[in-house]
Symmetry: C2
């Protein structure tokens, strides 16, 4: 692989090399689609074993990436995302074992029906084909994404961020050892062997039909590029402008507990709350304690006039705040006119990711759940449950905010397609 580190020669060579990766992935996908659950799980468990056995190699590779990142003065949050240590490597290996333990998603009987003419029709899950995953600095995505695709019977073409180049390559090598041990083609999981950003562009055009779907995992600029350039379907993960709406009929203690968790448990994840909406009819009772709770927890509050009047520490919110994903200890706070006002605000400023209503009124909860057009709509629980693991899907490759094919946490089941099997006894159509 080292010779491919930087592909020599220029654009033509890059194109040829990527084209070959695409063709090999397509061929491997056909083999993988027909592989048994046991064979796929063997590959996953063997890869986990190699990750554990090669911990020191992985740490060495990661040290190269970390040194380069420090030399480039990357931000501390970025360095933290990039870092591997014993615990993180053990976590990656465990994640592969857990994916092996999941029920096999391929061949599941999704639906069955019988027609009046006696035809029995089954709808069964099949792999999607070849999945392209483009990600940024977290090297563990190499293992997670490769493993999820493998479990769903899909070949994966992974493109790691240039910062995590060496770490991703070392992790990928373990996945390849796992594939070999299970007698599966190595091309079931490919890693693009270059830092050249032109490779991303090539993947977005589908590598001449070799890629069926693209999964981008990264920040706004990556997602924006993918949406602008992709010529193949994308499981887009837009930002999470997540709202908590506290209704006049909310239980205050419950609202406090949910809001604090939704905003402050971890501020950097996509399910973290970014905007608090409070029902004007309940503002006298609810607004001050909720705002102070956040302030006292160390959260910056940017509020409308009502919120500002509660506490001197509240800063004025500007229009931009209603559509900002802070991913930090900052929240925007606004009064709205009841559940309809909340729905209107969410539909105007939200990102169709995850939104929550806190209320003891079942009819209002039902209206909010029905009318808010987001992947996940929650009644009386923290928005930080927006996670494949918390949904019981095992690992997730991302949280999709689009409405095509996948939506919400994308686990192995959503990485499959389906086909119809028709069982006849000689029937012909009249």
């Amino acid at each position: 692989m080292e010779s491919l580190n930087v592909l020599g020669g220029g654009a033509g060579d890059l194109e040829a090399s990527l084209g070959a990766i695409g063709r090999k992935a397509r061929k491997a996908a056909r083999v993988l689609a027909l592989a048994s659950p046991e064979q796929k799980n063997l590959a996953l468990r063997a890869a986990a074993k190699f990750l554990r056995a090669r911990t020191s190699d992985l740490l060495q590779a990661n040290a190269l990436d970390m040194a380069a990142a420090r030399a480039k003065n990357l931000a501390p949050a970025m360095l933290d995302r990039l870092l591997l240590d014993d615990k993180r490597i053990a976590g990656m290996a465990q994640s592969l074992d857990e994916i092996a333990d999941l029920p096999d998603p391929v061949g599941r009987l999704l639906e069955t029906f019988e027609r009046p003419n006696g035809l029995r029709i089954e709808r069964v899950a099949t792999p999607l084909g070849v999945v392209g995953v483009i990600f940024e600095s977290r090297p563990n995505v190499t293992a997670d994404a490769g493993a999820l695709c493998l479990k769903a019977g899909n070949a994966a073409i992974l493109r790691a961020g240039s910062e995590s180049f060496h770490s991703s390559r070392a992790i990928h090598a373990c996945l390849v050892e796992g594939l070999k041990e299970a007698d599966l083609p190595q091309d079931c999981i490919s890693l693009i062997p270059t830092r050249d950003r032109a490779a991303v562009g090539a993947m977005l055009t589908g590598l001449s039909g070799a890629i069926d779907v693209i999964v981008p995992r990264g920040g706004k600029s990556l997602v924006a590029r993918v949406q602008a350039e992709a010529r193949v379907p994308v499981f887009a993960h837009l930002e999470g402008i997540v709202h908590v709406y506290v209704d006049a009929e909310a239980d205050l203690a419950k609202a406090e507990k949910i809001l604090l968790n939704a905003k402050m448990r971890r501020t950097g994840i996509c399910g973290a709350a970014e905007t608090l909406l409070v029902d004007r009819a309940g503002a006298d009772r609810l607004l001050a304690p909720l705002v102070r709770l956040l302030l006292d927890a160390g959260c910056e509050v940017r509020g409308d006039a009502a919120a500002q009047s509660v506490d001197i520490r509240v800063r004025p919110a500007v229009e931009e705040d209603w559509s900002t994903e802070y991913l930090d200890a900052i929240i925007a706070v606004k009064l709205v006119d009841g559940v309809q006002g909340a729905i209107d605000h969410v539909e105007t400023y939200g990102s169709h990711h995850t939104d929550c209503i806190v209320t003891e009124n079942a009819a209002k909860a039902e209206k909010f759940l029905r009318e808010v057009d987001s992947a996940i709509v929650i009644h009386n629980a923290s928005t930080q449950f927006a996670d494949g693991g918390e949904f019981g899907f095992g690992a997730e490759i991302g949280i999709a905010t689009g409405r095509m094919h996948a939506r919400g946490p994308v686990g192995v089941a959503q990485l499959t397609s389906f086909k119809y099997l028709v069982h006849g006894a000689g029937q012909t159509r009249p």
Copy 2:
């Protein structure tokens, strides 16, 4: 509408007009997504009523299209597709009533699960949003596609072929009357009011984010253009290179019945068989009767050496025949080495539409059904069952051959997306 027949002014005006259609459709989609089943069904039944009441208007509009088509010397098959008569209009109206009778696909509970922490999670069907439908000469698609989208809670933007311009417009006017009677926005179903082919290009770029998915319904050149230019997801309907494989362990009488129906019942539909594969091990018993059956039924047979040796009327097949969708009384015939040979042939030359095995051996049938990667795989029944109506889906908007979101007959259920509803009791994430 007449003033929009040919949009004056040029490209800028066209763009502005289409942009406005897109924005209005997006707005209407939000209203339609929350409309009750009763309201949608009222619109459908009222539209059916208007189609019946305005039969003479529709025939007049169609006469304009037919005259123009004759003047352009269009082929008889094309003229037939374009023609409306009393019976076809009654059929269209009935189709709308039948779509109204279908169970409402929106809000269906697709899945429900409970987490150890007590969270109850439901996955429920939601509309997709705005569907763009691009079709060619059959004017009835205006009614069918508009009605299917409406039933699934989606706004539709329809682009009729220029040949059916007047007919489609008259049909669309009936749909609009139905919407009005149900107090739904007229923009729930829009018809692009120009023959300018640049409108197709604009739709394929998504009308600035207004279109969520494109459904092309037409011949190869339309589908090719859509695949080359689309920047939004497409429910692609590729050609149907449909195979019937007759295994050595087939019941000959059953094989004859199925093959004749699969090829000759209607030759112009996408589920019609185009290639007959016969198991070499059963050729002595099977090949001659099957080939003669087709020849005697008036079907041209293009065969490999073995098939040619059976009857003097058999013409030699060339490489191109194995990947040709004749849509006519022509079939390609070839010997293959058992079920594996059949699968290899289908995967090499097929179009992932519909394929069939005829055998009395259950293990071979299972292998074929498992390993052939087509939307519909059939054991011992005619391939002409590849149809939404025959599957019990009611009408269909097309048969998708891709693997993303929709596959096989696309009825109202596949025109929906979903979301997760999370029911909590104050849970927070540890």
